[in-house]
Amino acid sequence: MSQKKPGKLIDENDVRLDGRKLNEMRPLKIEVGILGNADGSAYIEHGKNKILAAVYGPREIHPKHQALPDRAALRCRYHMAPFSVQERKSPAPSRRELELSKVIREALEPSIFTEYYPRTAIDLFIEVLQADGGTRCAGITAASLALADAGIPMRDLVSACAAGKVEGRLVLDLTDMEDKSGEADMPLAYMPNLNAVTLLQMDGMLTNEEFEQVVNMTLEGCKQINQLQKEALRAKYEAVKEAEIEKEEVEEEGEE
């Protein structure tokens, strides 16, 4: 992005540029089931990140030679829209997007009972509409919800977030600017109920002690995200329940 780096990213009161504390996450907004065509879908706003996830399947696999005899093939496409960043991003899949597609697929596959549906395909699409650091994590969070919304049996929801080191301090959930001028960034995906990590990447340098602290920070973040994920899933069905109760109350009043 063409934003200029200001003098300091963290001021003397431990407040970051966007007003957050060191271990504070960006505001999160999640909605489930917003695409009509897809079998399952989710939309996430994580700070300035805006990401759509859609799931189709399990369905017939094409081309046929990709079929696996013992489980469903999870096919994942992570893609950034040309307008998702300041400088136009070429719509062709880049090296980075291909890698993220693979990494995201591997982060989600352990959570799905793929062995229930051999010879089929589960297609997952993650479309980044606006990017501001941490899109792979927000993408995983949304994709996991889309899978659950599609009715695909899962061991657990996958929640993901990142933490790292900026100006010598350990911080949770880095923005694009913090990531680029910081010393380290470590995304992590986690299944909270099973206490299992499905993705762990790091660029930059951390000491052993710092690494441990950063892991603990991200795990805490993931647990917070998991709560919001559950609320978002429930919201889709509780809305119907509440609307029905209200309607009945109105009807009863009318009859009296």
């Binding site: 079998d39 399952g40 399947g57 399990p58 369905r59 017939e60 469903a72 009972f113 549906y117 051999p118 010879r119 089929t120 659950a148 919304d149 599609a150 009715g151 049996p153 899962m154 061991r155 657990d156 929801l157 299944m191 909270p192 109920n193 099973l194 994920q229 559950k230 899933l233 429930r234 069905y237 509780e238 119907v240 329940k241 029905e244």
Partner: protein
């Protein structure tokens, strides 16, 4: 406490439902003595069996199910049929004709062509082979009239109701013939488009409110209300229909 949720409470995948002596039922799995949910749904238990009634799922073929399928392809020996499952179903010509098949003489597209709908029964299916269908039974065969609607297959039991109570209500109040495919397709054929529209409306309502209680009563009320209004309207409508007919 070995059970962590109340009956009919909404659960999401990964939620810890019960521990130790309980047995895992549908849409749950057991690991290290702990039972977790695998789908979004309503929690319930029966004796020692813990299960989740899924709110959304897809159709998995079962031998003996009646399904409504759509022909995708006519091949030499039969038809490939979409039954809304992860696998394409096959209807072999010998399961559609009551006599031996003569590949040179029999014209398969004249029986079922691409896009045709059929009521069929699953005769064979396992995880290594695609499902096989038959239409050689009473009530099965090509669909020639009516309206088709699609709902989530998990909600089919709700449309049928306890011992067929819901489907009885629907048939009685709308006067339509309703055929339910276990794969989430429902065929409605009535005497008039209005009846069909009413039945469609009722089924859509059932689908949307499947996880709420007292649904059969609400549907009965709704149908009665709609019907009541119609009898008044019908006089006017019949007149306008007459004129429409003469115009044609």
């Amino acid at each position: 406490m070995p059970i962590f949720y109340e009956r009919r409470q909404l659960v999401t995948p990964g939620d810890l439902l019960a521990e130790n002596e309980y047995i895992n039922g549908e849409n749950t799995y057991k690991e290290n003595g702990k039972i977790y949910a695998t789908r979004v749904g309503l929690f319930d238990y029966e004796n020692k069996r813990v299960f989740v009634v899924a709110l959304k799922a897809f159709y998995i073929p079962m031998v003996g199910d009646t399904v409504i399928g759509k022909v995708l392809e006519v091949t030499l020996g039969g038809w490939m049929v979409d039954i809304r499952a992860p696998y394409l179903a096959m209807l072999r010509a010998s399961d559609a004709l009551e006599r031996p098949v003569r590949p040179q003489k029999d014209d398969l597209p004249s029986l079922f062509d691409v896009g045709d709908l059929m009521i069929a029964k699953i005769v064979a299916y396992d995880r290594t082979r695609d499902p096989l269908l038959t239409v050689l039974e009473r009530g099965l065969g090509k669909i020639t009239r009516g309206q088709l609607i699609e709902i989530t297959p998990t909600k089919i039991p709700r449309v049928i109701g306890k011992k067929g109570s819901m489907i009885a209500v629907l048939k009685e109040h709308t006067g339509c013939q309703i055929t339910i495919g276990q794969n989430g397709r429902v065929l409605i054929s009535g005497k008039s488009p209005d009846d069909e529209r009413l039945a469609t409306m009722a089924i859509r309502k059932i689908e949307q409110e499947a996880h709420t209680t007292g649904l059969t009563d609400r549907i009965t009320d709704m149908l009665r209300k709609e019907k009541g209004e119609k009898t008044e309207k019908e006089v006017v409508e019949n007149v306008s229909k007459e004129t429409w007919k003469t115009d044609r």
